[in-house]
Structure formats: structure tokens, C-alpha cells
Amino acid sequence: MSALAVTRLELRRLFVRPLAWVLGALTLAWLAWNFTLMLGSFLAAQIRLAALPDGPGYTDLVAVPLLAKLAELAFLVVPLLSMSALAGERREGRLALLLGMGLKPSRIVLGKYVALLVWLLAWLALVVAMPVALAHATAIDWGKLAAAALGMALLLASLAALGLACSAFASHPAIAAAAALVITLGLWAVNLGARMAGVDDGALNWLAMSSHLQPLLRGLVASPDVVWFVLLTVVSLALATRRVAAERERG
């Protein structure tokens, strides 16, 4: 119940602050522009592609690349949205107030996480709606699109949890945003060196976020990939909760 109250409060704050609106508007405009360009390229190449057996279609050349662009933007947008969720509350003395209300740290973290997730999933839904809007005029590979959307939802869920964890540990929102960005980029590219050396297997590849997102974007839903994102989310939320719980002890 108290987590729901935190979620309501946090959602209200997200929707009245200009940051969420500005980020939403700018990124959607950028993605809509990219969608138009990719659609134009697809239409120009359509006749040539139709001649190819098993050639790529609308989903491969427009819908999934659009979601991949969303992933790139998410690396920046999620840290910006999550940076003040806990670091800002602490700086303004509001985290102590929430703890003074007897709210469990897990409820505070969960409430804020769910609010962030609601915003991010609405953002994802609007992006998915762009290629889906042309479903009547083209053939969409629904299975592939659903897998890619699932991958993006998992990515956003794990980035939100990571951003929240950084916000819990950082003393200043800007530090939280920078830390979340650096950790995300690190997780994305941790296997870059190994891949350049021709090693496509091993711990570094397992650790890399890209290794788990790309199969989903190709339409392959494998439980190890889903589990990787769920693990990152759970570990990040547990760390955030632990840090908020320590607030009573640390002061």
C-alpha cells in the first residue's frame, strides 16, 4: 500500500516536471524522424528486396532498427530521469522524512521504480506504435516485433533499476546520472576487446548487455537472455534498497 502511495507521488512528480516532458518530446521527435527516413529507404529498396528469397522485410529494416535507436537514447534518458529519484530526495531532506514516516526502504525503492517504469513503458509503447501504425499497409512479422519489444522492455526495466541504484549511492543527482551512464556503457561494451580478439564466448560475453539484447532484437527469445536482464534488475534494486536502509544508520 505504501509502495503504491510512493508510486503515485513519484508519477505525479514525473508528470509535472518539465524534464520528463522535454526528454519525451525530443526523443520521440528524433525517433519519428528516423522512422520516416528508414521507411523512405525501405520503400526505395522494396522492389529489389522483394526479388530476394527470404529477404529482409519491413520489420527487419524499419521496426527493429527503430527500437535499436530507442536503446541508444535510453542510455542517456534513463539516467537523466532516475538521477534525482533518491539522490535528490536525500539532498533536500525528503528521504529522511519518508523514512521518518516508517516506510520500509524496499517500499520506497519499489514505489519509485514502478513510477519510472510506467513512464519508460509508455515511452516504449509510443515508439512501437510508429511501425505498428502501418500494419494495415504492410506485412509485419509480429513474433519478431514482440521479441524486440520484450527485449526493449527488459532493457528499460534493468536500466531504470541501475539508475535508481546509482541514485541511491550518489550524493548528487549529476553524479548518479554520470555513474549510471558509465556503468551502462561499460556493461554494453565490456566484451568489445574480446570480440575484436575473436573470442565470442566466455564470461565477458556473458556479462555484456549487448550479447543479451541483440538476440532479442533478432527475434530470438532465450531464457538465459531474459534471466540476465531480470538478474541485473533484481541486483540493482536490492543494492538500492540496502543503501536506503543504511540511511537510518549512516544519517
Partner: protein, 244 residues
């Protein structure tokens, strides 16, 4: 015959902050309907004590009992029993006064008609009606304090913890605050009031506790005639520190 159990009891509560002892072996008790004035110079440990009583900070050692139960073991007690106004009322700048009251009510577990009633009661009592739709970020200091006080009182707590609530209030608002504290006490609410304004203490408190370097140096009942004695006592403690 058993004596009534105090609502709040601090048993040798100690707390270190920023590498120094902020509160040391503090033992205090407060009954329902009593107003305790917590006096002390800056850095005496008043705010740390109040943060511990409000449940926002855990004591390093010792215990804080609320209604006979250990607050460290049952932090949810604070949600029901304590209303806390920190030194600078922590508000969400982007929310309106009305939204603050709703959010605090929900966080305290109020909903539906009970929440509406509580909100209406506070709006009337703290004269917030003209401000209800105003953003907290544009309120004056005095208005912020009134909103913080309304949020602290919304769920009708048994213990009201006020950290320098008179800061930034004009004389009329100070008088209204004193009336409110006395009314709350008359209704059975225990109040802890931290301040360094001696007149504040003699005007509204039944008891006084003087903190110095985190330790309790004086504690006793108070009558309105005690102002001069209290002043003498307080300055003796404060100057002792300066001399040290």
C-alpha cells in the same frame, strides 16, 4: 497500582554523526499531553535527537520506546504515532499545497473519505485555503512552515516533533503556532519542540530539557514564572562551553 506508561522514552540513546558524538546517553520520557522544550545552542544535538525520535535516524546504542515498543524494531510505529516537522520543511517544489497534503495522507495510510476529511481539517486549521493550488516552490518561508506543520499533523499523531518551527514566522504566525501547540497538548498530543528561543519554551512548554554537546544538562518542569531562572541556567551552560 501501575503508573501510566510514557508515550515516548529515550533510554541512554547515543548517536555519532560526521565523526563526532552528536548525542550521548540521552534519557528522557514524555507523557501524552505534555509539551517538552528542547533547548540548546547550535550543534548541541537537538536535531539529531529529534531525527532519532521521528524514526529517521537509528541510535548507535540505547533505545527509543514509542508507546512501550522499540522504534528500531518497529519503525512502522512512527508512521502511525509520530508527526515530524524537520528544521527546513522538506517539500516537493513542483507539487501544490493540496497535492502535498494528499501525498502525505496516502503515505500515512489515509485514503478516501478519511483523507478528504483530514485534508479539509488541516486546510482550515492552518489557513491554507488560499494557497491550496499554489506550488510549494513559490511559497514564502512562513507558508512553507505552515504547510510542513499541516503535513505533520494530518494523521493526528500522538507525538508531534517540531524542529525550530518558529523559524521564519512573523509575530502573528508565532502566536498562532503557540496556540496550535497548546491546543494539540490539550487534546492529548505529546509535543517535543526544539528551539533556541527561550521565550518560545516558557510560553508553551510544561517541561524543559537543555542539551549541551550532545548530553542532557538540565531537565525539569516549567512554570511561566521560570523565565529568568531558565535564562540564567541556559546561559551558564552556553558560556561554560565558550569558556571550555
Amino acid at each position: 497500582m501501575t503508573l501510566p506508561q510514557p508515550l515516548l522514552k529515550l533510554e541512554q540513546a547515543s548517536r555519532r554523526r560526521a565523526g563526532r558524538t552528536a548525542v550521548q546517553d540521552l534519557t528522557l520520557a514524555l507523557e501524552r499531553g505534555q509539551v517538552l522544550g528542547l533547548l540548546g545552542v547550535n550543534g548541541a544535538g537537538k536535531s539529531t535527537t529529534l531525527s532519532m525520535v521521528a524514526g529517521a535516524l537509528a541510535p548507535d546504542s540505547g533505545r527509543i520506546l514509542l508507546d512501550g515498543e522499540d522504534l528500531a524494531e518497529h519503525p512502522a510505529l512512527a508512521r502511525r504515532l509520530v508527526g515530524w516537522l524537520p528544521e527546513r520543511a522538506p517539500l516537493w517544489q513542483e507539487l501544490t499545497v493540496g497535492e502535498h497534503l494528499d501525498a502525505h495522507g496516502r503515505l500515512r495510510g489515509l485514503k478516501g473519505a478519511a483523507l478528504k476529511q483530514a485534508r479539509a481539517r488541516m486546510v482550515e486549521r492552518l489557513e491554507l485555503a488560499p494557497l491550496e493550488r499554489r506550488l510549494a516552490g513559490v511559497l514564502s518561508q512562513g507558508q512553507r512552515q505552515r504547510l510542513g506543520l499541516a503535513c505533520a499533523l494530518l494523521h493526528q499523531p500522538a507525538l508531534l516533533v517540531l524542529d525550530e518551527p518558529g523559524n521564519a514566522l512573523d509575530p502573528v504566525q508565532v502566536a498562532a503556532l503557540r496556540t496550535l501547540i497548546r491546543d494539540e497538548a490539550a487534546a492529548g498530543t505529546a509535543v517535543i519542540l526544539s528551539t533556541h528561543v527561550l521565550a518560545e519554551v516558557t510560553a508553551v512548554c510544561d517541561r524543559v530539557a537543555i542539551l549541551h554537546d550532545g548530553a542532557l544538562r538540565h531537565e525539569g518542569m516549567l512554570t511561566s514564572a521560570d523565565h529568568a531562572a531558565l535564562e540564567q541556567h541556559f546561559f551558564a551552560i552556553a558560556t561554560a562551553r565558550a569558556a571550555a
